[in-house]
């Protein structure tokens, strides 16, 4: 294992992040504030509490997840798509490193960025609502695992994408709907029974539910299942990436 190579990729990617630091923080902060104004103030005044938690606070875990999942996928997919697009991937492929060094570098950097953004969103939320965190350890674990697994997913998207359209459409078409329909802004128990059943096929439900449990001690699905789900999801992404590098699919003829 070449730590130097991992470090090199990681620093390279983080510097790209630092160059665009302002945009990186600006848009999540603005978006979060808008969500609070629209959902928290406008809708919250009608809903009051969900499962005993004020609506404004209730949506915070979902908001963090929404930001973190979007940032992870877009950062990681862009990070590996760029070398493919510019042709500089020749250097990565010819370097004396294996796929996991490449993945650790790119995914590590993307996950770091989204963790920072997740914490920034959390900080922004404190400006608007009072927010207890019942299980800080579990909260951080979920945040970390979500950042890692969605960065892995983004890495896969970046490798599979043949052009800029595909790179942008995948997150928009798959991840955003899953997050919105995954109970970011409502409790699953508020849905009609049929939808409650269908929703259970959405992996994001388990992540948001578990994450919310770490704040309020309430959840749509048992916390144990959420923990298993996030670990399975991460393992699944790792396996796909392993297969991609083993077969050279879309990166090596």
């Amino acid at each position: 294992m070449s730590f130097l190579a991992i470090q090199t990729i990681y620093i390279y990617e983080m510097r790209r992040f630092l160059r665009t630091l302002f945009q990186s923080f600006f848009s999540p902060i603005i978006l979060t504030s808008l969500y609070f104004i629209v959902f928290g103030a406008a809708i919250g005044s009608k809903i009051n509490t969900v499962d005993g938690v004020s609506y404004g606070a209730f949506i915070v875990p979902g908001l963090i997840m929404l930001n973190v999942m979007n940032e992870s996928t877009s950062n990681a997919s862009f990070g590996i798509f760029m070398p493919k697009f510019e042709g500089t991937i020749y250097e990565i492929l010819s370097a004396p490193i294996s796929f996991y060094e490449i993945v650790l570098g790119y995914v590590g950097a993307a996950a770091t960025k989204s963790i920072i953004i997740g914490l920034v969103v959390l900080g922004t939320a404190y400006l608007f609502v009072e927010l207890p965190i019942a299980h800080p350890g579990i909260m951080l674990f979920f945040l970390l695992m979500t950042c890692i697994s969605f960065s892995l997913l983004g890495f896969i998207i970046g490798i599979l994408s043949k052009n800029w359209e595909q790179l942008q459409v995948m997150p928009l078409l798959v991840i955003t709907p899953l997050v919105f329909l995954g109970g970011s802004f409502y409790s699953i128990s508020m849905l009609p029974p049929v939808w409650q059943y269908i929703t259970m096929f959405n992996p994001v439900v388990y992540l948001i539910s578990g994450f919310r449990w770490s704040f309020f001690g309430i959840s749509d699905v048992p916390i144990f299942i959420s923990l298993v789900a996030i670990i399975f999801f991460t393992a699944g992404c790792v396996m796909i990436i392993w297969w991609i590098f083993k077969t050279g699919f879309r990166i090596k003829q």
């Binding site: 390279y12 160059r19 510019e86 020749y90 492929l93 370097a95 004396p96 490193i97």
Partner: protein
Amino acid sequence: MTENLKIAVSVSGLSKTYNNGLIALNDISLDIMKGEILALLGSNGAGKTTLISIICGIVNPTYGVVKVGGYNVIYQYRDARRLVGLVPQELSLESFETVFDTIKFSRGLFGKPRDNCYLERTLRQLSLWDKRNTPVLELSGGMKRRVLIAKALSHEPRVLFLDEPTAGVDVQLRKDMWKIVRCLRETGVTVILTTHYIEEAELIADRIGVIDKGKLLLLDDKSVLMKKMGKKELQIDLQVPIDVIPNSILKYNIKLTDDHESLIYTYEKNSDRLGISKLLGDLAAAGVILKDVSTRQTSLEEIFVDLVGEKK
């Protein structure tokens, strides 16, 4: 065993069929010696880039074994790739990075500890030091080529591949490049370059390999090959057509064209030029009046036809 230690790259029975069914390499075998400069000569689509890409680990072989420094490029890829530097044919670079950052990245990627002195020397050698803080995006094509070379040298490779390094490159860079290549050879670095110009191979290489349609037609010392390949023709147009070649010039390797209006003299490029002046003198003595003379180098295509013909 001692023989093996002298081999930098060994390729045996290498074939490559791309996913679309195209056979890019067809049973190639060759040994590249440590410290030599090998030129791979071949026209577009011959398979030069494919061969290099397989040795460097960018393309998977279909059949065959490739070793660099004795390490199998598939099973011992870490050891093998550490030895190799590649300057690709295309100008593929990270546009937004500065020159210095981009070569620092290359060095780190290959697992070499930071050594800014070495990187500075490399940049100076390539006249890039003044541009070290310029984003790659703002460089001209020739400068980008220099950056690619710097990237390949940044991790101190023992085997350097230059894939068509002179395509679209100005005279100065060409000179600089050959200077660097010769310097590298002095430190024992093996250099493999591809080109489709015979002159270039002749100028720089110790040995020359000729590839056509995925096959290695031959591989030999430059001096041996230039005898076979470096033929030139002198065409002498006559003022007055003649029926037969005068006796006094029959001793030259000369032919009369079918229309009897020109003489074609074939000679070796590297032989001394006295042959031509003697011939012209003898022609004048024989009373043959010249209208015009022109020379022409045999093209790569003609050489291929020659070589393939010879093999049959």
